[in-house]
Symmetry: C2
Subunit: 213 residues, 2 copies
């Protein structure tokens, strides 16, 4: 489908891709102008439409490319994680995600935006694209690590996994925003996030109420 584009020399491909990523993540689908893309990338309008046929296809290609990049990077790093304790592992995984989210922040922004607010007429494509990502680190897998024998009878494993993921993701997102606003170093926010994560994990593990209630 995009063979003509793909057989371009890597250097030129990268130049075009990075301009597109910048433009789309900055101004969204509608407001991004193909004129601006072509002039910034130093190519003609004709050739862009020759490669991708239309703006919609270009956008889908770029979003999918970003999704893949992020996914690959996260998977690569997660594969190294050996920790078997559920809570420790979730923590490590979430900190990896945070790092990647910062390293690929434009890509993350673009994919998040595209999935949450698909441009008119792309709802189906985005759903399809999202599915490719769902299973790249399944909750099922985490679920298996949770030792059910240690859980209280009222605590269903799915709820524990869900609450934990939700809480940790919220914490890391908060710090990502801080990182982007000010100029704290990555190491610093990871350290802060790590401490806060520990406290929330304690809360989830042992609750907030004194046991004699």
């Amino acid at each position: 489908m995009y063979a003509n584009f793909e057989k371009l020399p890597e250097e030129k491909k990268q130049a075009i891709l990075s301009v597109c990523i910048e433009e789309f993540s900055d101004t969204g689908f509608e407001k991004t102008s193909t004129d601006r893309i072509t002039s910034r990338a130093g190519i003609s309008k004709g050739i862009l439409f020759h490669y991708f046929k239309n703006k919609k296809n270009l956008f889908l290609y770029i979003v999918d490319y970003c999704r893949q990049q992020i996914g690959d990077q996260i998977m690569k790093e997660i594969k190294e994680v050996r920790t078997e304790d559920f809570f420790e592992r979730v923590k490590e995984v979430i900190l990896i995600k945070q790092r990647v989210q910062i390293e690929y922040y434009r890509e993350t922004q673009l994919v998040t935006y595209a999935v949450l607010h698909p441009p008119a007429g792309m709802e189906e494509e985005m759903k399809h694209l999202l599915q490719k990502n769902v299973d790249y680190y399944s909750e099922e897998y985490l679920n298996k690590l949770l030792d059910k024998d240690l859980l209280q009878e009222h605590a269903s494993p799915e709820k524990v996994v869900n609450l934990t993921m939700m809480a940790l993701e919220q914490i890391t997102n908060k710090y990502v925003q801080e990182y982007q606003a000010n100029t704290i170093s990555l190491a610093e926010i990871q350290q802060k996030a790590s401490l806060e994560i520990d406290e929330y994990l304690k809360l989830i593990k042992y609750g907030c109420m004194q046991s004699d209630t």
Copy 2:
């Protein structure tokens, strides 16, 4: 500023407002056409620009109007809540929010969208608008209801409030989506949400691990 619009007969005002809300919430700022608004509302293009000067002002006016409507409605209902127990109260409040979110779903969608993804050049206005909403049901207030004497020493009140709000909001949002997708009744999703909330509250109160660990 918008005196000319505001002194219109209520009926005509409502007609215009509701068309704008529909269009903006459906297609977002950029894609919404003032031509379409005027023709659907049965008014001329000239008069729309006479009332609001430009599209940006119109959008801000509509978003603020929606924000106010939602806020007023929630406040009205929350004022009736007498429950003093923190967890019970948070639950009631969140279920009220869920009801209002469903009743005013277009308005909610519009405001959420506008705040999360402000159209180019409206970032400041949106921040300002958000601030008006922040304190309409402060976490501070909820904080006061949390009896600190009952908490374990590791559980900081802010974290308990935060985790609770986050969890419950996520649950209600999940059910709102279900409601919008299928055709379950409001009563039914509120009942389901209520049960699930109870389980998460138990988890937050007493944790998931058996105490002898």
